[in-house]
Amino acid sequence: MTILDELKKHKILELLKNEKRIDGRNFLEPRSILIETDLIQKANGSARVDLGYTSVIAGVKIQPDKPFPDLGDKGIFICTAEILPLAHPDIEPGPPGEDVIELARVVDRGIRETNMIDLSKLVLEKDKSVIGIFVDNCITDYDGNLFDACSYAATAAILSSDLPVWELKNDQPVLLDKRSIIPISTIPVSVTVGLIDSYLIVDPNADEWKCMDARITITSNSEGNVCALQKGGYGSFTYDQLLECSKIAISVGSKIRKILKQHKKSK
């Protein structure tokens, strides 16, 4: 942390002690969430999510693929993320660094571990040919909390996606002239809680993100169960704080799930 960040942290902490956040939000209040779907016609599904000033565009591409050798009875799901260099002055073009790789894996895990997509329904022929779903997140503007922004963008893109239908002919997948939808079993919602001193705040913005001691990203499913989580940052949580975070993630998450649900495509 640079000396300027320390000075910022000092200011943020003073406000928190008076139960205030720098942008006037309550501790448990996420920023406004704007979702637009179907903006990329060449993708099977797409969504742009604005979480405050953080902005992400996610695109879904679906194509036949070979299954992973140990998972022959399941389709493929892969989620990636890239912070575009136009999103922030400190981002340099090039292969993703450890932060971006962590980001992509946490978003991927949130969707995978909730079993949002029923991958067993995406098999053309066991061990030979399956359907692969690729979700790519492009971050176009940075103002903190990419975990949740990418998670909402990926989820909204999947919910609004169509599913091309293939049929095997002589072991070759042939695209049919009809469309289905992705088999969805639950809607995952990730909520990131930041810890500054002893204060827990939902959806930290860029300034809060830089100053926080630790963070935890918790993904819950439609049933209100905790399905995937990841702690990050150099600080540590107490047992009680972790329980509190999970309660926050489930209650805040259920409100956000209603927003995401509006973008679900029906047959």
Binding site: I40, K42, K61, P85, L86, D141
Partner: protein
């Protein structure tokens, strides 16, 4: 340039093209300036089905430092396509095509910018193609020029870009994806409309000398139309469109 066989009728008896346009008609173009929060300058363009976002940073310190020029500021450009921008998912690592287009766009903008006053600095242009269609380099160049002006970089002129080409033995304006694949020639042109200078020109396909001359002329007419759209985007941002 394909010239490949197809069932698509590129030009019908009444000179209407496969997407319903006349031979001298541009696709639909929308440009917005100042769309990003963190960049010094930015723009978004929809050019037919192309959807492209551009962010400009600088003038700022050059990293790595050895690239800095003590006599003038330098320009860098990255043209990049999102994995979902094309029919088949694209690997995010930059391809040879993207690297070439980055260079061509940079060199097309170089004559327009005045960086002499900012030695040892760099102006970075980041172009992200969210959806690609035929003519994405021209669309990207139009957006990049608007983003540079939005960032306040001193410029001799805007650069406007548009392709002309040959399909079904006719010279047409603004070649689309199908015409690029199945037509006879595609020639993107970048043009500074006030200074009347060409800063980008490429061709693939075969043209006679006369067709070549017509093609350049047709492309320049297209650039002049696009120039007005670029200018409007800038005036709309800075003057909220309250002037003529």
């Amino acid at each position: 340039m394909g010239g490949a066989k197809t069932d698509i009728i590129l030009l019908n008896e009444s000179d209407i093209r496969c997407d319903g346009r006349k031979i001298d008609e541009l696709r639909k173009i929308i440009i917005k300036a100042g769309v990003l929060q963190n960049a010094n300058g930015s723009s978004y363009i929809e050019f037919g089905n192309n959807k492209i976002l551009v962010g400009v940073f600088g003038p700022r310190d050059v990293h790595p430092k050895h690239l800095a020029n003590t006599n003038t500021g330098i320009l860098r450009c990255r043209y990049h396509m999102s994995p979902f921008s094309v029919d088949e998912r694209k690997n995010p690592a930059p391809s040879r095509r993207e690297i070439e287009i980055s260079k061509v766009i940079k060199e097309a903008l170089e004559p327009s910018v005045i960086l002499k006053k900012f030695p040892r600095t760099v102006v970075d242009i980041f172009i992200e193609v969210l959806q690609a269609d035929g003519g994405s380099r021209c669309a990207a160049l139009n957006a990049a020029s608007v983003a540079l002006a939005d960032a306040g970089i001193p410029m001799r002129d805007l650069v406007s870009a548009c392709a002309a080409g040959k399909i079904a033995n006719s010279i047409v304006l603004d070649v689309n994806n199908e015409e690029d694949q199945f037509g006879q020639a595609d020639m993107p042109v970048g043009y500074m409309p006030n200074l009347e200078k060409i800063t980008l020109i490429q061709l693939d396909g075969i043209l006679t000398h006369n067709e070549y001359a017509t093609c350049i002329d047709v492309a320049i007419q297209g650039c002049k139309t696009i120039y007005q759209i670029q200018k409007k985007a800038l005036i709309d941002k800075f003057f909220q469109g309250d002037i003529k």
